[in-house]
Symmetry: C2
Subunit: 239 residues, 2 copies
Amino acid sequence: MNLLLFDSNDMSGENEIIISGRRLKHLNNILKLKTDEQVDVGKVGGLLGKGRIISINEDEAKLDLNIYISPPEKLPLSLIIGLPRPKMLSRILRNVAAAGVKSLHLINSRKVEKSYWQSPLLQIENIHKQFKTGLEQASDTILPDIKLWQQFKPFVEDFLPNLLSGQRSFIAHPGNYPLLPADSNIATTIALGPEGGFIPYEIEKLIDAGCTPVSLGTRVLRLESAIDTVIGRQLIPQF
Amino acid sequence: MNLLLFDSNDMSGENEIIISGRRLKHLNNILKLKTDEQVDVGKVGGLLGKGRIISINEDEAKLDLNIYISPPEKLPLSLIIGLPRPKMLSRILRNVAAAGVKSLHLINSRKVEKSYWQSPLLQIENIHKQFKTGLEQASDTILPDIKLWQQFKPFVEDFLPNLLSGQRSFIAHPGNYPLLPADSNIATTIALGPEGGFIPYEIEKLIDAGCTPVSLGTRVLRLESAIDTVIGRQLIPQF
């Protein structure tokens, strides 16, 4: 946790927040903050800056805010992924938010187990919880956009062509395809199959919708690693 | 598990193996293999090919081997990482082996908790177990090289300059540095800090030993994601 994220529920005055629970534990046990010391803070969806401890004990911490810094740029990257099993999904949600991915579409696919769609993790407040953990890691305040598509066909036929229009779009697929280009700052959408991969029908539909097949090298990667690998090829420089 | 890995302990004849335990479970419950059906197999450190089921039940499976395919190329990539906590390390070991990283150096650093060095995961048979899970995922048979350096100074002063000689060498470090180049097929070594990062003294020593500072973008990544991000920039094409 490199950033103390707060939202309007934590505000106790115009420039004041009261923190309890998990975040308080971090202030007390990891950062060991005392009165008048400062910590990096950010408002969900808003600015970042410093919070000064007015008071802190085992029940709550009161902080005085001075926020004025814009959140960091997002990667111009949208991911379309076959819904993974919940345990992997929670890690993916954190990593995607930390890396600054702009939007994430979780889609159905033949190889997605139906039970995965019943996971409580897919409730929006739980998705946001994982996103926030990633934002705390990367000192960002802006939640990625997220959309769930429990039916493949309406997604790929009705929605996807519009999403991709005017954008560079790929599908990562094992085979003799060129590597995903390693460029920065070009708006890119990339589709990645679930564990077990997309079936041929789905690949065909994704290509029809505008996705060009590309390779992520010679090895079959786990979805989680494949996502970070894609992110590695879309990094934006610091200056 | 995309490959059934076996070693000489599993051999029951010149071209025959007997499998039990976890791998048998996979053959029975996931692949649901029957007599005369085939599965992709590979010998640890050796060739890949097909195994044909001679007999299979709940106790063991006997397979007839036909192996003749060379394992896939490794990435010409060596990683030097500050020892992470055991849970993260086991995922890293699997991912590194799956991605085809050539060698891995686990080093000490000021921010590495001393207790991490006591983890049973660091016993070579346990490291190899994690590596094999990665190899099973990526259909490879060659274990990455692994070295443990519980003392930073002898590593960086006595060993590292030789390791890096004639090689492209980097240290990933947050700051205003150029991005890690996204090239393929150039022998590269890259050092990544532990959780909490290298301390300035350590960075200085790594630079002295020949590592050029590079950035992995504008965000502070978790070590696990940083490694896959690095791998993403060093992919080798399929053709």
